[in-house]
């Protein structure tokens, strides 16, 4: 194979989300002569960003003073907050926990916000390249990170080169900044290689499934923010919902399931759809239309799971580092702050990552995580214990002398028959979409079918033998896009991977109980094309 073409920058950022773009903007503000590029696997900026999202505006005020005069396209001041405990037929309104009081915050579409941030970065001289996926990390002779290689385009499913084949290039940089979001595929490799998680708890995740609805005129209350927990989750599954009322008669709604669930039969997508049919919500949606839909893993391990965020030649920021604040259900402010902090650190230290981990841990970014570190893990012991513990931890401001442990999500799955099946008090659904395939249509996900499958399963023989017996193939249930299917045809029973449906949520990579699924980037530009998510 011919020598790969190379481009050089001072800094390369992987991922054009709030962390990566804020980092690049801050870097250029402080030191315009530094060359920086941001690569993004989505075909356009924001197309693969999925978040609630209610954001705290203070970091934006610090990054872009005056942004309020030129706000992102969807930006509704937070109004009334509500917090509900749901049972199957009704619900009870509870006092809003302090972390969920949103006065002064804004409801945004994070996708639209990133599409609004990117041109501001470009105006400062940042090169933003959507449609280019980082396939791999490259290393210097001394073992430090040297940059990334961009995936080839035009490779057929069997690995041969199609007519339009274009070899990817290598981008070399003094520093590589990973801003891939939760469970970044390069970050995962680097954490292993540099043992960044040594002495830390395993990282923990949830899956968030979201839809954006257009309602009949006059039904939405712009600014209203509703969170709920309880039904349809059983008391040992961490599940909660959000409803954010936007302008233009639109509402964003979603359901989050902790990926530490233990029942192998649990279906996060079904739980979301069940919740939509709750009597408190169904009348809001009936007669409306889905505009966009999708799913994304959320990083929830917090303080005790935070890896070392620096390594020779590279550093981690935002959700790929794991900075989301679970009780607040927010990560954007943390992403922006960590991005700014990383830029400030690099400028002050001649672009050397060393020392960034200490700087981040000494900052209010990690202080915020430390305060709430015991809240999410306690829900493992059941809903009521979790709530009481949350009240305790909140009252003490996180001053408890202990730190609860996180376990790896994949390890929490019980084997079939090992526990009593939780009673799933589900209803007959009437709201669309009917099934996951009907839902994935609203993600507008697109992958050229003739490309190598980007979900690497290292041993598919397990699927129809050990896994079928032990867990009953949970991949066919946890995937929100019906990517995994066990088919039984003339060729026998086997796993079929419908990779073209993939919405890049990374749940399979996290939850597969044998840890044999490896999510890698497909051809650049592939994947969901979310609108205003």
């Amino acid at each position: 194979m011919s020598e790969r073409e190379t481009m050089e920058y001072d800094v390369i950022v992987v991922g054009a989300g709030p962390a990566g773009l804020s980092f690049a903007i801050r870097l250029k503000q402080l030191k315009p002569e530094v060359s920086v590029c941001v690569i993004e696997k989505a075909s356009t900026i924001g197309a693969q960003i999925l978040s609630g999202a209610v954001i705290e505006p203070q970091p934006l005020d610090a990054l872009l003073p005056g942004w309020r005069d030129n706000p992102p396209p969807i930006c509704v001041p937070a109004g009334e907050d509500e917090f509900w405990l749901l049972s199957k037929d009704s619900g009870r309104k509870l006092p809003v926990p302090p972390g969920m009081r949103n006065h002064g915050n804004f409801i945004v579409s994070l996708g639209a916000m990133c599409a609004w941030l990117a041109p501001q970065a470009e105006a400062l001289g940042v090169d933003v390249f959507p449609g280019f996926a980082a396939a791999d990390t490259i290393f210097n002779e001394d073992g430090s990170v040297a940059g990334v290689s961009i995936g080839d385009m035009g490779v057929a499913k069997d690995g041969s080169h199609k007519a339009g084949y274009a070899q990817g290039i290598d981008i070399k940089a003094k520093v590589t900044v990973l801003a891939e979001g939760a469970r970044g595929s390069l970050t995962k490799q680097l954490i292993k290689r540099f043992k960044l998680d040594q002495g830390k708890d395993p990282q923990a995740y949830s899956i968030g499934i979201k839809e954006l609805w257009q309602l009949p005129a006059g039904r939405a209350t712009p600014g209203k923010i509703v969170h709920s927990f309880g039904w349809p989750a059983d008391s040992h599954t961490y599940g909660g919902s959000f409803i954010y009322h936007l302008d233009g008669d639109r509402v964003a709604l979603g359901y989050v399931s902790g990926l530490d669930y233990s029942d192998p039969d649990y279906k996060p997508w079904e739980a979301f759809q069940q919740w939509k049919n709750h009597p408190s919500l169904k009348p809001l949606l009936e007669g409306g239309e889905i505009l966009s839909a999708g799913a994304r893993a959320i990083v929830t391990g917090g303080y005790q799971s935070l890896p070392n965020v620096e390594m020779p030649g590279a550093l981690l920021i935002g959700d790929t580092a794991g900075l989301l604040n679970v009780p607040k259900v927010k990560g954007t402010h943390q992403a922006i702050k960590s991005g700014m902090l990383a830029a400030e650190h690099l400028v002050a230290n001649e672009l050397k990552p060393a020392g960034f981990d200490a700087k981040l841990r000494a900052s209010d970014v990690v202080a915020e995580l430390k305060k709430v570190r015991n809240i999410k893990p306690a829900f493992k012991k059941g809903l009521w214990f979790g709530l009481l513990n949350a009240a305790w931890e909140t009252a003490l401001g996180g001053a408890s002398p202990w730190t609860l442990k996180n376990k790896a999500d994949w390890s929490s799955l019980h084997k079939l028959g090992a526990q009593e099946e939780p009673k799933r008090d589900y209803v007959q659904r009437t709201l669309p979409p009917r099934d996951r395939l009907a839902g994935v249509y609203f993600a507008a996900t697109e992958h050229d079918e003739d490309q190598p499958i980007h979900l690497h399963v290292s041993d598919t023989s397990i699927c129809v033998t050990t896994c079928a017996e032990e867990y009953g193939n949970p991949c066919t249930r946890f995937c929100p896009a019906s990517v995994y299917e066990i088919v039984d045809d003339a060729a026998g029973k086997r796993l079929q991977i419908n990779a073209a449906n993939c919405v890049h949520c990374k749940t399979c990579d996290i939850k597969d109980p044998y840890q044999i699924i490896n999510w890698v980037t497909p051809e650049g530009g592939s994947g969901p094309n979310y609108q205003n998510m």
Partner: protein
């Protein structure tokens, strides 16, 4: 020879088109825009002609608002030598586009004007034909194969009956069909090179083209949704159901 390529920006083909609630148009806020796929094919063909030595210069031309430059840069990154941007914030109908292109042709004197057979937004399939008439030059539409030699283009057209091969004298207008070629991927270093390539901006008003709207849109509506299906037990029940609906 110089080749002019009509290069329109449209709502991306992956986007689920949504009609605005008031029926005044389709939603374009926060929607991904990209090159009309048929225009990408036209540009690819022009670049291949240049690579074969048939043409020396490929110029992409676009009509649209100030931010259209980002789209034209993509054309430059694919390989066009330069771009012309006719700036207007108004929507442009096919006849107006053809008149604008004619003005550019008069100025640039190309040997070939190549453009997609239609744009996937309005699906009008008119601009190429109208341009040929205004220019008073031959047209070869729905091209599936193009060969150029001795001042003539031999074009295989995709027509209802199959394939039809015609010969036209240059200069001419060619409109491209789906199977003509597969456009190349844009490479990162070429995006950087494209930043240095020139884009000429021309104000629409300065061209003296009459911007008359010949077509008036009354309203937009999404297609009627398919009703819920009914399961029938057997053929007899099916026949009965069809009879009841008066279909048998």
């Amino acid at each position: 020879m110089k080749i002019l390529v009509g290069y329109k920006r449209v709502v991306d083909y992956n986007v689920r088109i949504q009609v605005k609630p008031d029926g005044s148009g389709v939603v374009t806020d926060g929607v991904k825009l990209s090159a009309n796929p048929f225009d990408d094919i036209a540009l690819e063909e022009a670049l291949r002609l240049r690579e074969k030595g048939v043409a020396e210069e490929v110029v992409v031309v676009g009509i649209g608002p100030a931010d259209l430059t980002a789209h034209l840069r993509n054309g430059l990154a694919m390989g066009a030598n330069r771009a012309i941007h006719v700036v207007t914030s108004d929507a442009v109908q096919p006849l107006t586009a053809a008149r604008v292109f004619l003005k550019l042709i008069e100025k640039e004197q190309p040997g070939l004007f190549i453009v997609g057979k239609q744009a996937i937004d309005d699906d009008a399939n008119q601009t190429g034909q109208m341009l040929a008439a205004l220019w008073d030059r031959p047209q070869a539409t729905f091209a599936g194969k193009v060969e150029i030699a001795d001042g003539k283009a031999t074009v295989t057209r995709e027509v209802d009956a199959g394939l039809e091969t015609i010969e036209v004298e240059l200069p001419a207008v060619i409109t491209t069909d789906l199977r003509l070629n597969e456009p190349r991927f844009i490479k990162l270093p070429d995006i950087m090179k494209a930043k240095a390539k020139p884009i000429d901006s021309i104000d629409f008003a300065s061209l003296g083209v009459e911007a008359h709207d010949h077509l008036k849109t009354t309203h937009y509506a999404p297609p009627v949704k398919r009703g819920k299906g009914v399961m029938v037990k057997d053929a007899a029940e099916l026949v009965a159901a069809l009879k009841q609906k008066g279909l048998l």
